[in-house]
Amino acid sequence: MNSRRDFLKRLSGAALAAGAVPRLLAWALPQGQTLEVPGEDGMILRSFRFVDLESPVEYFNTWLTPVPHFFVRNHMHEPSEVNADDWRLSIGGEVEKPLTLSLRELSKIRTHSVVNTLECAGNGRGLQRPQVPGVQWGKGAVGTAQFSGPRLRDVLQRAAIKSTGKHVMFRGLDEIPGKVPPFIRSIPIEKALDADTLIATHMNGSPLSKHHGFPSRALVPGWIGAASCKWLTEIKVLETEFAGNFMNPGYRLPNQPVKPGDTVKPEDTHPVTALGVNSVIAGPSDGSSAKTGKVIVNGAAWAGEADITKVEISTDGGSTWNSARLGREQARYAWRLWSYEWNAGQSGDYTILSRATDNQGRTQPAIPAWNPSGYLYNAVDQVKIHLA
């Protein structure tokens, strides 16, 4: 493994010895790092170290998002080396029979598939005002894929959970810089035992790519992406919620609405779990021009553990609304594609809005409740276009 890194090191030595091609090395080894950024996917580069890639919203025109177009969120360095033969998954804590599984052993456990819309809790953070620190995502830290692998509950049942086991903790192989707390989080036992919560090994029918957690990741459907720990290597059943930075103060929402810009005490917060109701306009693109006549407005809408019941479109800045047609493809935790055929008769500047509603009665707000970490931003989406 690491042949590319070794290659670059060797190349570096040879080039420096010859005093040649400094331009190459300046590209290949910025700040002394080798590069593992996928460079051919047309993704929005929020950061390459750590790798944080956002999908341009115009990609959201297929029910399943191709893996090269699927957003990537890393809090830390990806594991520099994961050898499938050496990889092990340990299951311990509040269990009668702790066990360790190889990838081969894991692959022998009955597989289940879930089409899930995975969304970063911070999707849309960059649109929140006042701004808050963190990756300044637009609306593209979301995607939908078919995830496959053993059910988490089947593995936990092999280990025989004790009655004291109330939460399930995941630890990945992320490489931790400095004194940063490890990215460890937990989910309640009820969600862990849900028939659709997986130890996923495949994404859209292929083994997970490195950026998406090879060789296995948790898949906690309908919940924020942070629940679905990548490069999974340890599962531990706990008596209480895991106590660590990424459970508290990280990934929490205020219990009560707060004034934008206010600070919130940790004791007045709760963990972010399931996603809210949300939609995005994939086309036409914001700032684009088109001819009057038939204009197809399309996009996607999702609601975590709930179902989308309608998507409404406004072409007059919110004065009047019309129902969009929902796409045929659907699954419990997956987004619905939608489209609306607009007969635009007059030239001019228009603001198009999309607003989704789910079967829990939730509707996207015009202005979402502000929170200090910019989680679950779900304002009515909008694009401005010009018709000539």
Partner: protein, 124 residues
């Protein structure tokens, strides 16, 4: 003398043989610079030393925060291992809050090189 020149030329040829195809690939697949720089200023060099140890500049370039928020961030990162000399703390906060304040225009992120991916929009 000739021996040394021949050795240097052969070494250079070796490097170019290895490096040029790689550079052509690099130029083809990564037209945007994958490294970014922090803006000039009295604390630029120290900010690079302190912050770039763990992450790249774009993490900073995209933020638009008040001085109070930058203070929290600098103190959090110091707790997480960033080596900020006590004498540099206030100057570093000033540098960040001056260059990356809420009134600055939004940061425009680059895109990675694009190509037509084979769609995987059908279940296998």
């Amino acid at each position: 003398m000739w021996h040394k020149i021949i050795r240097d030329i052969s070494q250079l040829c070796l490097v170019l043989t290895i490096a040029l195809p790689f550079e052509m690939w690099a130029q083809k697949s990564a037209p945007t610079s994958l490294s970014a720089d922090l803006p000039a200023g009295p604390m630029q060099a120290k900010a690079v030393t302190v912050c770039m140890e763990c992450h790249e500049a774009r993490i900073i370039l995209q933020q638009r925060l008040s001085k109070a928020a930058w203070t929290k961030e600098v103190d959090k990162m110091t707790k997480w291992g960033a080596v900020v000399e006590p004498a540099d703390r206030d100057a570093l906060i000033d540098y960040l809050s001056t260059n990356f304040s809420p009134d600055k225009p939004a940061y425009e992120p680059p895109r990675t090189a694009g190509h037509k991916s084979s769609p995987e929009n059908t279940l296998k």
